[in-house]
């Protein structure tokens, strides 16, 4: 057993060196495919993050209170709301604060509000929910309470955003699956052609009495090595460029736009394992599967 493994590894290394050109071709293919996969992975992870950020700006429920509700009662309501399932925090905003906020929001046009006779804004409570999906339930619980003039929350916006993020996640998964299938097809083809070029060799080995496993061994190890090299190279390339991009972004106008990017350490930590398992899987399975034809008889 040990002798057989040692033989396989030794032979694989010899083959790799002697068939440099073909191996480079295989490594190239695997690397290219993993690069494309990585590209998509990065895009999807970041679009997701973006959507989540955007979403978090809409996860509030505005509750306008009637003017005759006293401060005491308001604090009571606040406490009660905080116990509702799904509520993260409840903030009290009195009418003066609301006016200030509105002025701020108007920016340069804020002076227009100076002409107001009396403060038209009501007191309000602002609820942040843990999960957007819970918002509806929270609202229906609150509706029954006394002293509430109106409840506002960006239900439709929130729903659309939910739809979009769900769609992006789904599309992302579908794309990644498609890409993985395409990669496997391409790499398997590469390996198949590599093996086809050695069809004669494999035939001869069989004629001399080599068992299928004996023949497969070195090819298998070779596939694993090619997979590891391919995934290593692509992770390195992605790491390098993604780091550059993040650096570029953090000094650019984009920070102002508050576009956050997934930090490269996180990405790499995940990618490296996904890629190495994909690379090794594709490489070794590819070489074994594509040899099946020649080992049938």
């Amino acid at each position: 057993m040990f002798r057989a493994s040692a033989y396989s590894v030794k032979q694989a290394c010899k083959q790799l060196i002697r068939n440099r050109n073909m191996c480079t071709a295989s490594i190239f293919s695997i690397t290219s495919m993993l690069l494309i996969l990585g590209l998509f992975f990065i895009l999807i992870v970041n679009i997701n993050l973006l959507a989540q950020t955007a979403q978090s700006q809409f996860d509030t429920i505005q509750i306008y209170l009637e003017d005759d509700v006293g401060e005491e009662a308001i604090y009571e309501m606040q406490n009660e709301m905080e116990t509702i399932y799904g509520v993260k925090e409840v903030t009290y905003i009195d009418k003066e604060e609301a006016l200030v906020i509105m002025k701020k929001r108007w920016g340069d046009n804020g002076y227009l509000l100076d002409g107001l006779e009396s403060n038209p804004f009501p007191n309000s409570l602002e609820i942040k929910v843990n999960k957007l999906e819970d918002a509806d339930a929270v609202v229906s619980r609150i509706k029954g309470m006394d002293g509430i003039e109106d409840i506002k929350y960006y239900q439709s916006v929130v729903e659309k955003l939910l739809n979009i993020t769900n769609f992006i996640q789904l599309a992302g998964m579908v794309l990644i699956v498609i890409l993985i299938i395409i990669s496997i097809v391409i790499v398997a083809n590469t390996v198949k052609l590599t093996v086809a070029a050695r069809e004669k060799e494999i035939g001869i080995m069989k004629y001399i009495g080599a068992t299928n496993w004996f023949i497969r061994g070195p090819f298998f190890v070779e596939g694993i090595i090619i997979g590891i090299i391919g995934s290593g190279v692509s992770v390195a390339i992605i790491y390098f460029f993604y780091k550059k991009i993040i650096e570029a972004f953090s000094t650019q106008a984009f920070v102002m736009f508050s576009i956050g990017l997934v930090p490269h350490e996180f990405l790499i930590n995940h990618l490296i394992w996904i890629f190495i398992s994909l690379g090794v899987g594709i490489g070794s399975l590819g070489s074994i599967l594509s040899m099946r034809k020649f080992l049938d008889t």
């Binding site: 060799e201 069989k206 068992t211």
Partner: protein, 227 residues
């Protein structure tokens, strides 16, 4: 050792072998002769289960070749040393590695490989080309490597398809002396050949095939199969 019972092999409607009955005992030295396309290589391919017989039974030692499951084929082939008509050397391995490969297959220890391979190479007179690749050898040199590979594991049966086809008469006779030696050690030898002179001088059993049929089987025969 080798037994053919009513064996036929058809390629489409063309019978490469038809209804062959044959028995070769342990330790025999047999020449297989016949014109081009007679079915000699087909005979060997059947014996090694490289192709399947259309009909009949084939036995080699304890194994029934015609019934052998695919995964047992390597066992069959390891019992047999073969010299192919087209050499079949591994193109990406050196002469040394080609011969060593036959020992790797049976998981021989690296030590015994290092000891036995050089002996075999010098036996066929090709020691100085040990580190060359097959495409760097002349045809005769390749043939000798194929012979070295076929005998390296001391097989109980040695089958040689034209082992002297690309050799000059002198080298051919050296190879023949080698085969006789191996035969004396108890190995059964079946040799396909067109070399009239060799067959005539050796005075061994000669089996003549023509158009897929055995037309003669002489215990101390000569080449001239058509009188």
């Amino acid at each position: 050792m080798i037994k053919f019972e009513n064996v036929s092999k058809l390629y489409g409607s063309n019978a490469a072998l038809s209804n062959v009955n044959l028995s070769i005992g342990k330790g025999e030295f047999v020449f297989l002769v016949g014109p081009s396309g007679a079915g000699k290589s087909t005979f060997i391919k059947l014996l090694l289960k490289e192709i399947e017989a259309t009909e009949g039974k084939i036995f080699l030692g304890d194994l029934e070749v015609t019934n052998l499951p695919n995964r047992k084929i390597p066992v069959l082939r390891r019992n047999v040393g073969i010299v192919f008509q087209d050499f079949r050397l591994l193109p990406r391995k050196t002469v040394y590695e080609n011969v060593a490969f036959a020992m790797n297959i049976i998981h021989a220890s690296p030590r015994s490989i290092r000891r036995v391979v050089p002996q075999a190479l010098s036996l066929v007179g090709i020691s100085d080309k040990a580190n060359k690749y097959p495409h760097e050898l002349s045809a005769g040199e390749q043939q000798r490597v194929a012979i070295a590979r076929s005998i390296i594991n001391n097989p109980s049966v040695l089958i040689a398809d034209e082992p002297t086809g690309n050799l000059d008469p002198d080298t051919a006779w050296e190879i023949m002396r080698l085969l006789v030696q191996i035969n004396l050690r108890g190995t059964t030898i079946v040799m396909v050949t067109h070399a009239k002179e060799i067959v005539d001088k050796m005075e061994k059993r000669v089996i003549g095939i023509e158009r897929g049929k055995i037309i003669r089987d002489d215990l101390r025969g000569a080449y001239k199969y058509h009188v």
